[in-house]
């Protein structure tokens, strides 16, 4: 009897594994993403003052995200690879279009209105750029020679600058990061990487004087000394820290966060949602959340190492690390470690545009893992 039962369980697992491969999904990654989504909705329910309607809106967005994930997972990486230059070129055209429209409309313009929904070309770039760079490097030897490296730098710089000018510093930062990670994974010499970091450090004062808007400067100054402006931008950071600190080890409990409910935490549904988590679930809750993020990036990197070709390896690694930057920068920002740049906490924050991008990226990761070419063996 016991023999048959184990045999039975074995086939069950096998079936599940076959189903995964057929649907081109990755079970553990999908489970982690679902867990985050559900947790996120619970947090939002509290942050919105127990307004179920808003949570339903988020549920719809998440569903759209999972559809995007599923769709991307069906796409063989080789197809993506062949289309890479076209996707990138299309992204650039849209980006330029949105900027020229913005010039006409006399204001910051990030959206293309498609009637039914609005589309943000900068979001597309978060995927298009790493895909493009992975294609570029996979076409030649690794590590890349300096000509390819220079081309890659140009490909990173141009969209980043365009997005930064919109101005959307947070997204620009992420797009740049997604490109830099691929460059790093390509095996670029450490010497050059360190040189690049030094050069970026040297360029910072120039950026400050010639590129950054006054409100962006204000955010950095506030970060350095939040108490200087208790009514203005510093208020965000001070209130956020109070919420986190008062949460303590185990938190005040779900729906019991006073800071969140008395509306002391600004933008508590969007960029500052982690402060609500920290207040209501405490250090333990934050640690668990971070563990899930680490697990997801770990799984992504595992997929990267086991990918069949350089394109897959570079792309999977780049996308995973970019996802992680999201989480870390957001957490750093709300805990006062980094300046406020306006990035959502992935899969938890209320809002749709970056959510679909993230899900699509995970779809690509799963595609890389499950579309395996059958070798002659």
């Amino acid at each position: 009897m016991s023999f048959t039962s184990t045999e039975y369980r074995g086939t069950e697992l096998q079936r599940l594994s076959i189903l995964q491969d057929r649907l081109h999904l990755d079970g553990s990654l999908l489970t982690a993403l679902l867990a985050l989504s559900v947790f996120g909705m619970a947090v939002l329910y509290s942050a919105f003052g127990e307004d179920i309607a808003q949570v339903q809106k988020q549920a719809v967005r998440l569903s759209v995200g999972f559809v995007a994930l599923f769709a991307m997972a069906q796409l063989p990486p080789q197809t993506l690879r062949r289309a890479a230059p076209w996707i990138f070129a299309g992204g650039m055209v849209l980006l330029i279009a949105v900027i020229s429209l913005g010039v006409i409309g006399q204001g910051a313009q990030r959206w293309i209105d498609l009637g039914l929904f609005r589309f943000q070309p900068a979001e597309l770039m978060k995927i298009a750029l790493p895909v493009m760079l992975a294609w570029l490097f996979a076409e030649g030897d690794l590590p890349p020679r300096w000509t390819r490296t220079l081309i890659a730098l140009g490909l990173i710089l141009i969209p980043t600058a365009l997005i930064a000018l919109q101005p959307d510093l947070g997204t620009a930062l992420l797009v740049a990061a997604s490109g830099v990670f691929v460059l790093y994974l390509s095996g670029l010499r450490w010497r050059w990487i360190l040189g690049g970091i030094a050069a970026a450090g040297a360029a910072a004062p120039l950026l400050w004087h010639f590129v950054m808007h006054s409100y962006q400067k204000a955010r950095v100054l506030t970060f350095l000394n939040p108490e200087s402006d208790p009514l203005g931008a510093g208020y965000h950071i001070i209130q956020s820290k109070i919420a986190i600190g008062s949460g303590g080890l185990f938190g005040k409990g779900w729906l019991n966060g006073t800071q969140a409910h008395l509306e002391f935490i600004p933008e508590r549904h969007t960029d500052f949602v982690l402060a609500v988590v920290a207040e209501e679930f405490g250090l333990v809750g934050v640690a668990q959340l971070m563990a899930v993020y680490l697990f997801i990036v770990g799984r992504g990197l595992y997929i990267a190492v086991n990918a069949q070709d350089n394109f897959g390896r570079l792309l999977a690694g780049g996308l995973s690390l970019t996802f992680f930057v999201y989480a870390v920068v957001n957490a750093g920002m709300i805990s006062g470690l980094l300046p406020v740049v306006g990035l959502p906490l992935p899969l938890i924050s209320f809002g749709g545009s970056s959510l679909v991008t993230i899900m699509a990226a995970f779809g690509i990761l799963m595609a890389i893992h499950t579309h395996r070419r059958i070798w002659s063996s």
Binding site: H213, L231, Q239, I244, G245, S246, V305
Partner: protein, 628 residues
């Protein structure tokens, strides 16, 4: 590559460790500190916006003040069903489609936890009705607020300007913490130019709230610093005269005290009511205002650019005297046309057959074109440009408004830079009667006239006379702090010769401004101008009155009085008004009469249409066929 990936993973772990260290610091080490802060955080900091400074005329007449106003605001995230609430609330308060449209637009753009105004200026009745039904509308509240109000409505609206809602682009420009709790900002005129003086500084109140976040009591407050009040140089009564004298025609009139540059009246017609901007309006309303009715928002006095036409003649005459090209008594023959040596195109005088032998006084008084073609051609464009430049043609007058335009003082350099072409002799000829590329604003004309009135003393025009400190009430006069340079002539007598010529234009029986000399009780000197719009076909020389209005010439007049110790300088432009002597000069006379004699009988005669202009209507000074 695997090594790189693993190293990347290690960096991720390191980042999380650093992050968790910070979390431990906040949540464990400093936990008690933050718990205390959190309990004290029943205390909310609420910004208290400052009261915007008031604007007065020079005699204390209030031109802009603040009135309490009730508005209905909506916090979308607290409203369960916005569309249903909107549908129900219209039963209680009046909600025009335009307002609703605006609200829906804001609803899409703003974040859901931000308050969005639905209706402003609720009547007392509406406030009471809403209060009775308040429980039906969660997330909707009535807020009281001081809003800008312009009690004199269309009066002096171009000088005073207006405030409107802070736009997204302004939000990027301003210091947002200074504007917490403030919804409006200066958008035009003095309201814009003196925004920093008028706004004041935000204060804040620390209030204690209960567990539901409702305010229980105020703990302490740092009061806002109210904005400073402004005393304008405008005299409301004179402004009224200027506006009425322009009537329903389009144009501008500026009156200035030549001794100190104070603008006594700045009228631009058509006018607009700045109060409509305070509430905000729909796009349609705005476009209708901007395009539909001759651009009432456009301040013609400082932004309208017109050919100075014959009003430039006294300045050209002065230049010719000073450069020794003519003496005041020397006569030149005006035969009705002038041809450059070697050229074949004749430049005409407006009067067929010409004026005969004319000296400077007769040439200015009768506005001979040929006389000035000759002296202008002799002067040459370079001398003309450098001399006229001294009177701030082609440059900013420095008035304390934003958006002043500088017109064009034609020169070789200007033409090369802007048109990429060299200068032609013929262009010198028509520049000397203020046509061709020459453009000036009414403000520039008034400023140049002041300089002439002062015999060379230059002044900077200004609209603000004093600032009343909002907190202490102390008055700080704004004097002309930058000494303006003086135009030094070789012979001071040239000033008087030029001014005598302008006097003749008013007093001489054949002077182009003789219409306004009737009953004139003080020494007014001036010069008419008629800026040609369309070159007339020579065969089609029909009478002026028969011309369709949009083809009629712009009428101009500059003047100052009394000639020997000037107290007022005036520039008037009437768009499509016809002859300067018939259309513009009476407006100036109405203004100078009111200022010097406190007599508005000329104005009432003008308004009643009883100034008989028939005699001078043929004087239109437009040289047929003079266009290059």
């Amino acid at each position: 590559m695997a090594r790189r990936v693993i190293f990347g993973g290690l960096l991720c772990i390191l980042a999380v460790v650093v992050l968790m260290a910070q979390m431990v610091r906040l949540q464990v080490v400093d936990h008690h500190h933050y718990v205390t802060l959190s309990q004290e955080n029943r205390v909310k900091v609420v910004p208290v916006p400052p009261t915007r400074g008031l604007i007065y005329d020079r005699n204390g007449v209030l031109l802009a003040d603040n009135r309490p106003s009730y508005r209905l605001v909506v916090t979308p995230e607290r409203v369960p069903d916005i569309q249903r609430s909107l549908a129900e609330v219209v039963e209680i308060i009046d909600l025009p489609d335009a307002k609703r449209e605006r609200f829906e637009d804001l609803l899409r753009r703003k974040r859901h936890f931000e308050e969005i105004p639905l209706r402003t200026r609720l009547s007392d009745e509406e406030v009471a009705r809403f209060a009775a039904h308040r429980h039906r509308f969660p997330g909707m509240e009535v807020r009281a607020q001081l809003v800008r109000h312009y009690p004199e409505r269309k009066h002096a609206s171009h000088a005073v300007g207006y405030v409107g809602r802070i736009s997204p682009s302004e939000l990027r420009r301003i210091d947002t913490s200074r504007y917490r709790g403030t919804s409006h900002i200066g958008k035009g005129g003095i309201e814009l130019a003196y925004e920093n003086v008028l706004h004041g500084n935000v204060g804040f109140e620390r209030v204690e709230t209960n567990a539901l976040g409702r305010v229980i009591r105020t703990l302490d407050r740092q009061p806002p610093e109210p904005g400073n009040d402004l005393i304008l140089t405008i005299d409301s009564r004179l402004q009224d005269v200027a506006e009425r004298a322009l009537g329903d025609r389009r144009g501008a009139a500026i009156a200035m005290d030549p001794r100190n540059g104070e603008i006594l009246a700045m009228a631009s017609a058509p006018k607009y009511d700045p109060n409509i901007f305070v509430d905000g309006m729909s796009r349609d309303q705005f476009e209708q205002l901007e395009r539909g009715s001759w651009q009432p928002l456009f301040n013609r006095a400082v932004r309208g650019r017109y050919s100075p036409a014959s009003t430039i003649k006294p300045f050209i005459g002065l230049a010719a005297l000073e450069k020794g090209i003519i003496t005041a008594d020397e006569t030149l023959r005006c035969t009705g046309e002038f041809t450059i040596e070697g050229g074949d195109r004749p430049y005409r005088c407006w009067r067929p057959g010409g004026h005969g032998d004319v000296d400077l006084a007769a040439a200015v008084a009768q506005s001979s074109n040929v006389y000035f073609y000759k002296v202008g051609f002799e002067l040459g464009i370079d001398a003309m440009e450098s001399f006229l430049g001294l009177f701030s043609f082609g440059e900013s007058t420095g008035i304390d408004l934003i958006g002043e335009r500088v017109g064009v003082l034609p020169s070789r350099d200007w033409k090369r830079t802007n048109l990429g072409e060299g200068w032609f002799h013929g262009e010198t000829v028509i520049t000397s009667i203020g046509l061709g590329y020459f453009l000036a604003t009414p403000l520039q004309l008034a400023t140049a006239t002041s300089t002439l009135a002062n015999r060379g003393e230059r002044v900077q025009p200004r609209l603000v006379r004093a600032i009343n400190d909002g907190s202490s009430g102390e008055q700080r006069p704004l004097g002309a702090d930058t000494p303006q340079q003086r135009i030094e002539l070789n012979d001071q007598g040239h000033w008087e010769a030029t001014i005598d010529a302008m006097r003749a234009s008013v007093r001489h029986p054949r002077g182009t401004a003789r219409l306004i000399s009737r009953g004139l009780r003080y020494d007014l000197v001036g010069k008419t101008g008629t800026a040609q719009l369309a070159a007339l076909d020579e065969e089609m020389e029909y009478e002026h009155e028969e011309r369709p209005e949009h083809l009629r010439d712009h009428a101009l007049f500059i003047a100052f009085a009394p000639a020997d110790s000037p107290e007022i300088a005036v520039a008037v432009v009437i768009e499509h008004g016809g002859g300067g002597g018939a259309a513009a000069a009476p407006v100036a006379r109405a203004i100078t009469d009111a200022w010097l004699l406190h007599d508005i009988s000329y104005l009432t005669t003008l308004e009643a249409g009883r100034v008989d202009t028939r005699e001078v209507e043929s004087v239109i000074e437009t040289p047929g066929g003079a266009q290059p």
